[in-house]
């Protein structure tokens, strides 16, 4: 069995799965249950100044469902902890004492002045917590008060607050980033410049779930009015993966440790994050949808996967896919693939045909010799992968590299040498050679 133990910033945990700062980590009762279930660590729900904030007493959550009510996306307008600071500090101290082998990180959100940071950071450290996570990510509510995403959207603020924190902190400092920015590298760089030991991402995405079709008002609503929330769950994973990969492959930020967050529901999602450069992962929505027991599939699945790959530890997986991520301009434009439909697997639903016919390249038949038959017309196929994406039968349609001969679509010979846009003759800005 592969070794799942994790060392993130010197913080050891039995596995790389931490519960993210969120409702599941709001109090000792929940965190105890999580650790009993086997979670490697927890980031305590964000602490703030006393007096505590006040939450709405109506709906805080809503979901994007599939027809069988599976939760695909999840939205929340809950704020940071609404319990007194001392209550949280006491419970954190007790939990760390009871669970010394688990990672216990404390999320914190404070106003933008140095004195506040100097006051509260030592109080939190005194609990024995392993690290701090600075919440510069929450996009709702707290951002209206100049905290959360309001800080995370301005790199200068990130750097400033991180510096204030690092001045007094003796334990590692993780900066949690908001995805509600046009480019994730500058905020990550600002965190590094402020002295952060790591970044974690993503926090939630600005979102409105839908309207109420009866009243034609926003849904969900608090006494008739709604406000945007933060979106998370499976639906946001691709957004998170891109941001993690951007930080991993950018020379300025490549060396900062990353705690990956965003829609991790099963072990394969964790593989995505780790391979794209995350050193560990955090989970919230999946636990809120299924309960803490999902940790069993996460750890068992990851362990089995590592065994299958002949990897002895999680570290061997981290960053493995990063070298395969590049800019569009560096993709090989001489490379050709064509779709192939396996007729033994084809159920003749015709979805590939109609989407190609209506919306793409008219490259799939529907009738051959008078019979219902779907096959790719190489002379039209641009290799777009749309048919593969919509086919309901796994592996029925695959992409086949064309490595020699003539491309039936262009009539041009297949060239083995690579040609990217940077050197393409059609590019007026091309670099010769």
């Amino acid at each position: 069995m592969a070794d799942l133990t994790s060392d993130f910033l010197g913080i050891r945990s039995p596995n790389p799965f931490w519960l993210a700062s969120a409702p599941p980590t709001d109090k000792a009762y929940n965190v105890n249950r999580a650790f009993e279930a086997g979670w490697g660590g927890a980031v305590w729900k964000t602490l703030g100044e006393d007096p505590p904030i006040v939450n709405v007493n109506g709906p805080r959550y809503s979901a994007l469902h599939s027809n069988d009510r599976r939760v695909i996306g999840f939205n929340n307008i809950e704020l940071i902890t609404d319990r007194p600071l001392q209550t949280n500090l006491d419970e954190i101290r007790q939990i760390k004492r009871d669970w010394p082998d688990r990672a216990l990180v404390v999320s914190v959100m404070l106003p933008m002045n140095e004195e506040t940071w100097a006051k509260y950071v030592p109080m939190i450290e005194d609990t024995g917590a392993d690290a701090l996570e600075l919440n510069f990510g929450c996009p709702h509510g707290m951002s209206e008060r100049g905290m959360g995403a309001a800080v995370g959207q301005v790199p200068e603020y990130i750097q400033m607050a991180t510096e204030w924190c690092k001045k007094v902190a003796r334990i590692p400092v993780i900066v949690k980033l908001t995805p509600n920015v046009t480019h994730i590298v500058p905020p990550a760089k600002a965190a590094m410049d402020g002295g952060a030991d790591a970044v974690s991402l993503i926090n939630t995405v600005n979102s409105i779930m839908r309207v109420n079709y009866d009243t034609l008002t926003m849904y969900p609503a608090t006494d008739g009015m709604g406000t945007h929330g933060g979106y998370c769950g499976e639906a946001v994973k691709p957004i998170a993966l891109n941001m993690v990969a951007e930080i991993s492959r950018n020379a300025d930020t490549a060396n900062i440790p990353i705690s990956g967050i965003g829609g991790i529901t099963d072990w394969r999602d964790a593989v995505d994050f780790l391979a794209l450069g995350a050193d560990n992962v955090q989970v919230c929505t999946a636990a809120m949808v299924y309960g803490f027991k999902i940790i069993d599939d996460l750890t068992d699945g990851l362990s089995t996967f590592l065994d299958d790959k002949g990897m002895r530890s999680v570290t061997e997986l981290v960053g493995r896919a990063v070298p395969s991520v590049t800019d569009w301009q560096h993709l090989n434009l001489n490379y050709v693939e064509k779709a192939v439909i396996n007729q033994d697997l084809c159920i003749k639903c015709g979805r590939c045909h109609i989407v190609c016919e209506d919306t793409s390249h008219q490259a799939i038949t529907h009738t051959v010799n008078g019979s219902r038959h779907f096959e790719v017309i190489d002379a039209e196929c641009v290799g777009c992968n749309l048919c593969v994406s919509v086919c309901p039968v796994e592996s029925c349609i695959t992409m086949r590299p064309v490595t020699d001969g003539i491309d039936a679509r262009t009539g041009e010979p297949i060239k083995n040498e690579k040609l990217s846009w940077t050197a393409h003759p059609n590019n007026p800005m091309r670099k010769d050679g």
Partner: protein
């Protein structure tokens, strides 16, 4: 029934009322909303969908299922009922396993098609429950069409004519409309008086007059109709039953399956129906299954179906055959009646094994066996009721005892269209009859407007 008293083994009250009610409850209960949404999600929304091709009325099945998914139930019902005005009944009685669901591409890898029939019922039930009118009549044309027969073909034709702006007068032999929907079809397939609720909804479009308890030949003639109306549609079904052609066929206890089913359908308290201890059914179609299963569910101790060929040749689908077998009915293949035994009433039936000769023709053999029987039901098909119709159909070209029609359902007599079981190509399915009526209505409309 004819003289059941002649045999003490034929009696009512074999099961108590509660058991009978349970036995005659919905064969395919309606889907709940969550079941329907999950089932709708299984539809792949095929291009040029095979299920639609397989539907005799050409319902755009992926479209109506997509509308269930998006919670547009009224739109879904409109999609169904636009092509098949009896989409509610067909959702209950269609042998979907040999029509739309057999064509479902899901069968390729998982042998479990989308439950199209039950989804169709989910989409249409609220329309009848709430009596929601979905269709409007076109501007009145001033034309009136005579529709002979109040079954699926006639009512489908009348409704479509009404939609197209014409008036229709429906001549019904029976006191209730619906034809086999009302008087045939197993009771557990159409519970809660659905046939009449559906007809009430169909008639609510307006422009359809009903003349009941009048029969072609006895009360009016085809020539009269051709004279009085702008066009005529014949949807007269098959009024009489094929004979076994063996001795003693008139013995008490030898019954027409369709007559007993009609009585059963019209009886509220089914525990009052007389039922034999031992019941033998001759035939291999849907009617044979319906009478056998219903006899069993009424409390008959032994029910046997005898069919002269094998399971593949049975008119009843594999699902129907299994339904009979799981209901406790024994099916004997490759056997045919030779003689009915009994003095004052039938007591047994003597059967001979059959086989195919070198030319593939069915032949009897000397090998015989006997089944004791208090009742023998004949379910070997029906034919036009020529003794009642008399010379009425002389003017029409017939073939094999059925009316010849073209692709627009026009008969050989100008101005007369026909559809349903009475025409060549009629296949004993409500859904086909509905399609005939619809096609004929459009053909009549084209004629009346030309």
């Amino acid at each position: 029934m004819a003289t059941p008293q002649s045999n003490a083994n034929i009696r009512s009250g074999r099961l108590d009322k509660a058991d009978i009610e349970r036995n005659f409850s919905d064969l395919h209960p309606p889907l709940s909303r969550s079941e329907a949404l999950i089932e709708a999600d299984r539809c792949y929304f095929c291009y040029d969908a095979p299920c639609t091709t397989a539907c005799p009325t050409g319902i755009d099945i992926p479209a109506f299922i997509q509308k269930i998914r998006s919670d547009n139930i009224r739109g879904s019902a409109r999609t169904i009922l636009t092509e098949n005005i009896m989409g509610g009944m067909c959702a209950r009685v269609c042998p979907t396993e040999v029509l739309c669901e057999e064509a479902c591409v899901r069968n390729t890898h998982e042998d479990k098609p989308v439950e199209i029939g039950r989804l169709q019922r989910y989409a249409t039930d609220p329309i009848f429950d709430d009596n929601t009118q979905l269709f409007e009549r076109a501007e009145p044309s001033g034309k009136t069409v005579a529709v002979v027969g109040g079954g699926p073909a006639g009512l489908s034709c009348a409704h479509r004519l009404a939609m197209l702006g014409h008036d229709a007068v429906v001549y019904s032999r029976d006191s209730k409309l619906g034809g086999l929907n009302e008087y045939g079809i197993a009771a557990y397939k159409t519970v809660d008086d659905f046939a009449q609720r559906e007809i009430d909804w169909i008639l609510s479009i307006g422009g359809i007059d009903i003349r009941d308890n009048v029969a072609l030949g006895a009360d009016f003639t085809l020539a009269d109709l051709c004279e009085q109306y702008d066009a005529v549609f014949l949807g007269i079904g098959l009024g009489s039953v094929n004979e076994l052609g063996i001795d003693n066929e008139d013995l008490p206890g030898v019954e027409n399956a369709i007559d007993y089913i009609a009585e059963l359908r019209q009886t509220d308290d089914k525990s009052t129906l007389p039922v034999g201890e031992r019941v033998v059914v001759i035939g291999g179609g849907m009617t044979a299954i319906d009478i056998a299963v219903q006899s069993k569910r009424l409390g008959a101790a032994h029910v046997d179906i005898v069919y002269r060929r094998g399971p593949e040749q049975m008119g009843a689908s594999a699902f129907e055959q299994q339904l009979a077998q799981t209901s406790g009915v024994t099916i004997h293949h490759w056997a045919q009646p030779r003689r009915l035994r009994g003095d004052r009433a039938v007591t047994a039936i003597e059967l001979e094994k059959t086989t195919l000769d070198a030319d593939g023709r069915l032949v009897g053999s000397d090998e015989t066996f006997v089944l004791d029987a208090d009742v023998v039901f004949k379910a070997i098909g029906q034919k036009l009721a020529d003794e009642q119709l008399g010379d009425e159909l002389q003017a029409l070209q017939l073939q094999g005892g059925k009316i010849v029609v073209d692709e627009s359902q026009a008969t050989s007599l100008d101005g007369v269209w026909a559809g349903g079981d009475c025409v060549v190509g009629g296949d004993d399915l409500t859904v086909s009859a509905v399609q005939h009526g619809k096609v004929a209505a459009h053909a009549i409309d084209r004629r009346l407007r030309s």
